[in-house]
């Protein structure tokens, strides 16, 4: 019996040991971020080797959930640096005053178009476009051309071909709703969505369900058009069982069909280590870290001196003129837009 008790208690002991305070080390920074954050171990180790600063990454749910936790913990911050607030949530972060200003020297390499906070509390770190993707094989066999504009999707020839995500529950879903608002304006987007509904658009709860459950190029589903990312075709090549000459999917990148998500990094107010936290931000905006971003998170580096991996240059295209909506507009209208969308499309 006592042996069994020990066996039972063992996991507790291991856990407690794992949680016990580590012997005093120089400085360990906590980096709070969303669940999609990924980077090479070597890159982060290099930062520690160069500066003596260790980094502990704290994943905290999706982008919105992570930001909400950072705001709730404002008085006694959970972390020193926050990575991954995007332009749809930027105003909420700035209104709640969680970041301190930091004019990083690396900002000189970042295009002004990405800088949305003049006080540099939130510094642009990466960007990616939410775009329509289509199944190449389907359109190769079909007399139809692949869609080239948002308007195409409401053409009866494209009936029952598209799956989108619910903007109330999904980040790409919200981004695509914003693309339609940017393109059709606040007076026109609801009419567009009601036409889309009449044309048999399917609404999935999240990207996983849309892509793995209903997109014909990636699942048993029967929808050849899906809302995904401009980099998805490149990821399809990179993660293929045997590297194909051409991606099985393609992104629609014509003007005002995509919405650009820009992610920001910032030093959290109340950190005990502002100097070290700033060093980490510099590192994240620097070339080494930036060049490691694409293959790990499938978005583009904000730093224009960072070179791109082959699979990006060959199989991914950056839309030149994505639809735009300002962070302030998004912040003040998000609830109304989503509610109006829900009433138009779901009820």
């Amino acid at each position: 019996m006592s042996k069994k008790l020990i066996l039972l208690l063992l996991p507790c002991i291991i856990l407690l040991a794992a949680c016990a305070p580590q012997p005093a080390e120089p400085v360990t920074l906590r980096l709070m971020t969303h669940d999609s954050f990924e980077i090479s171990e070597d890159v982060l180790n290099q930062f520690t080797a160069d500066t003596g600063i260790s980094v502990e990454v704290l994943k905290s749910g999706d982008g919105g959930a992570a930001l909400t936790q950072a705001i709730l913990a404002k008085d006694n911050p959970l972390a020193d640096v926050f990575y991954g607030v995007d332009n749809t949530f930027l105003s909420r972060a700035l209104d709640n005053d969680i970041f301190m200003s930091y004019n990083s020297p690396e900002l000189k390499n970042i295009p002004d178009a990405l800088k949305l906070d003049p006080q540099n509390r939130a510094l642009p770190v990466d960007y990616g476009d939410v775009c329509l993707n289509y199944d190449r094989a389907f359109f190769a066999q079909s007399p139809l051309d692949p869609p080239a504009s948002l308007e195409d999707l409401t053409d009866p020839a494209y009936a029952n071909l598209t799956v989108v995500e619910n903007p109330a529950t999904s980040t790409p879903g919200l981004a695509f709703l914003l693309a339609t608002i940017g393109h059709f304006g606040t007076d026109g987007y609801l009419q567009y969505w009601s036409d889309l509904k009449a044309n048999g658009v399917a609404v999935a709860d999240g990207w996983e369900d849309a892509y793995w459950g209903q997109f014909s190029a990636a699942s048993d589903g029967d929808r050849p058009i899906v809302v995904s990312y401009a980099t998805s075709p490149a990821a399809e090549v990179f993660f293929a069982e045997t590297p194909p000459a051409e991606s099985p999917t393609a992104a629609v990148v014509s003007d005002e069909t995509c919405f650009r998500q820009i992610e920001f990094v910032g030093v959290l107010k109340g950190t005990k280590y502002p100097a070290e936290a700033k060093k980490l931000v510099d590192f994240m905006l620097g070339k080494t870290f930036q060049e490691d971003i694409p293959l790990n998170m499938w978005v583009y580096p904000a730093n224009s001196t960072a070179s791109l991996p082959d699979v990006f240059t060959k199989f991914s295209v950056v839309p030149q003129n994505p639809a735009t909506v300002s962070p302030e507009d998004i912040q003040s209208n998000r609830e109304n837009w989503i509610e109006a969308w829900t009433q138009t499309v779901l009820q």
Binding site: M1, I39, G61, A65, T169, D205, D209, G213, D220, V345
Partner: protein, 565 residues
């Protein structure tokens, strides 16, 4: 002298027992009521004054009432359907002994640990417009188009809830049934009652406590269902749980989120209160029997029909989607392959969050075993608390311990952020918070599994033991424990399951780099590419394997030589 000594001994026993009772109370206050209170206070009274303006909006827009009524009736239908299908199965598992029983029971519990996206795809692979069943039907009857289309209907939601919850009903009811004497039913039949009549008037009343407990758990699970409804039901079905997440995270509207959480909690508390009242009146001491004396081998043609029929149903309903997933994990673009499994072990990009399968298995198992130990220990104490003597407060206490099952994960998670932020309780981002949160959700399973068994112990047995000179502790070890052992194992299996299958949606906390198996699955599902999907399925299959081994291991677990009951 001697009697004084006895009194001292007795009173110290009394103190020990009551200080033991403080343990689960402290746990719940610290990790449930305190964080919940903190987040509700922040939501309703951000500037000191109370603000219930959100409530008015909820009542005004009828939308939320529709959400509530849909949530309620789909949960009721799911519960009824699950019980109807699982009751015959429970009979077979309680009364028959047949080869492969333990394995089949383990398989029936596997759905519980799988992420909804993966399960949804298994359903699509079998029942979808391009699925196996429609393929067969179209080929067989030469149909031009798929005859079955369940996509985004209420039927697929109900089917999925049965798929997920079948084993809850099966395990709780069969473990209780197994201890009931078969002779009463036989006597009734000898006296001329038809089998149906004997079942309705003799067996069913005796089973009520277990059926009630199972029904309650299934109802709560369906009531707070998140993924199943969103993914299988499509965007047009919404439950309160979904609405809370949307309000809190997407709109940062904490007052509305808190109000909805409170509605959900109060509704559950009311339901639980009614349930607890009926249950404590219903449970009566039964003559519990050793399982060996009531189980028989499959001999006659009728036996074969009953056992075969039920096992067939379980194969179709539970095993076929699981099998579809496993087969799929071995199928690449050029036929059968081990690529996806091999790929699990390779960290191509040297990624920081790469999860070596061995490490994920270790982490998941360690956290799950810790949860089992916490939940079973606290669960037993709570059951003792609820069954020692008869007190008015017990009726109020029992529903309270069920609340974590009905509390939105976001609400409680946000509560942790603002409540557990100062030493010595600064547990934010600490690993120990993970099994603690799992334990909160697992305890209701332990209580509901064990309570009916404890209540059905004949008090005479205890009295006889005490009269014969056994100390209270000895009475517990010799009388109570052997009789509730099986119920306890059922609770332990579910505690293990709750923890193994948790992937960040049920328990919402920031976590350090300790990847578990479900977290690894979600990570693969997050990016496009056939390799990612294949690896997600491979990891899901490994998760099923580890869980099945865990279930069988727990069921074989013995403490000392308590005899076969």
């Amino acid at each position: 002298m001697k009697s004084e000594e006895q009194i001292v001994k007795l009173s110290s026993l009394f103190t020990i027992r009551y200080s033991l009772f403080l343990l689960p109370l402290a746990f719940f206050i610290l990790f449930y009521f305190y964080p919940l209170g903190a987040i509700l206070k922040l939501s309703f009274a951000p500037a000191g004054g109370l603000d219930f303006s959100a409530l008015g909006k909820l009542v005004r827009t009828g939308y939320y009432l529709r959400v509530l009524s849909f949530t309620f009736w789909q949960a009721t239908a799911s519960t009824a359907l699950t019980l109807a299908l699982a009751l015959p199965g429970a009979y077979v598992f309680a009364r028959y002994d047949f080869p492969g029983k333990a394995t089949l029971k383990a398989v029936s519990t596997l759905p519980f640990v799988l992420p909804t996206v993966v399960v949804a795809n298994a359903f699509t692979a079998l029942l979808g417009p391009r699925g196996v069943l429609n393929g067969w039907l179209m080929a067989f009857f030469a149909l031009p188009r798929p005859p079955i289309d369940l996509t985004h209907t209420i039927w697929i939601i109900l089917l999925a809830h049965v798929f997920y919850n079948y084993s809850v009903a099966l395990r709780i009811i069969s473990s209780y049934w197994q201890n009931l004497p078969a002779d009463v039913t036989e006597v009734a039949q000898m006296l001329g009652a038809s089998p149906a009549r004997a079942f309705r008037h003799v067996t069913l009343p005796m089973l009520k406590p277990a059926i009630g407990a199972a029904a309650l758990l299934v109802f709560m699970f369906s009531f707070t269902s998140f993924g199943v409804i969103l993914i299988l039901g499509g965007a047009k079905f919404a439950t309160i749980e979904v609405e809370i997440y949307r309000q809190a995270v997407n709109l940062f509207n904490l007052p509305v989120a808190a109000t909805l959480s409170l509605v959900q909690i109060l509704f559950t508390f009311g339901l639980m209160w009614v349930y607890t009242r009926t249950q404590s009146n219903m449970a009566r001491p039964a003559k519990l029997k050793s399982s060996r004396s009531v189980q028989r081998a499959v001999r006659t043609a009728k036996d074969r029909l009953i056992v075969g029929g039920n096992l067939g149903l379980m194969m179709v309903l539970l095993a076929s989607p699981l099998l579809a997933l496993i087969l799929r994990s071995f199928r690449g673009e050029n036929g059968w392959t081990l690529t996806f499994y091999r790929e699990l072990f390779i960290n191509r990009r040297g990624a920081l969050f790469f999860v070596p399968p061995g490490e994920a298995i270790f982490n998941s198992t360690a956290i799950a075993l810790t949860t089992v130990v916490f939940a079973v220990a606290l669960g037993i104490i709570i059951v003792l608390m609820l069954t020692t003597g008869e007190h008015r407060w017990q009726k109020w206490l029992d529903p309270l311990f069920m609340l974590p099952l009905a509390t939105s994960a976001v609400t409680l998670g946000f509560g942790y952020i603002i409540a557990l932020n100062k030493p010595p309780l600064n547990l934010r981002g600490s690993l120990i918070l993970v099994p603690i949160a799992h334990t909160l959700v697992a305890i209701p399973f332990v209580i509901r599994s064990v309570l009916p068994a404890v209540r059905s112990i004949n008090p005479n047995l205890r009295e006889v033991a005490a009269v014969l000179g056994a100390s209270p502790r000895k009475v517990w070890r010799a009388v109570d424990f052997p009789l509730i052992r099986r119920a306890l194992l059922v609770g332990a299996v579910f505690a293990f399951t709750v923890s193994m299958g948790e992937f960040g949606a049920t328990v919402f906390i920031a976590r350090p780099q300790t990847p578990t198996m479900p977290v690894a699955i979600i990570r693969f599902l997050g990016q496009p590419g056939a390799l990612n999907y294949g690896q997600a399925l491979a990891m899901s299959s490994l998760l099923m394997l580890v869980c099945a081994v865990g279930f069988i291991g727990i069921e074989r677990f013995r403490l000392g030589d308590e005899g076969e009951f």
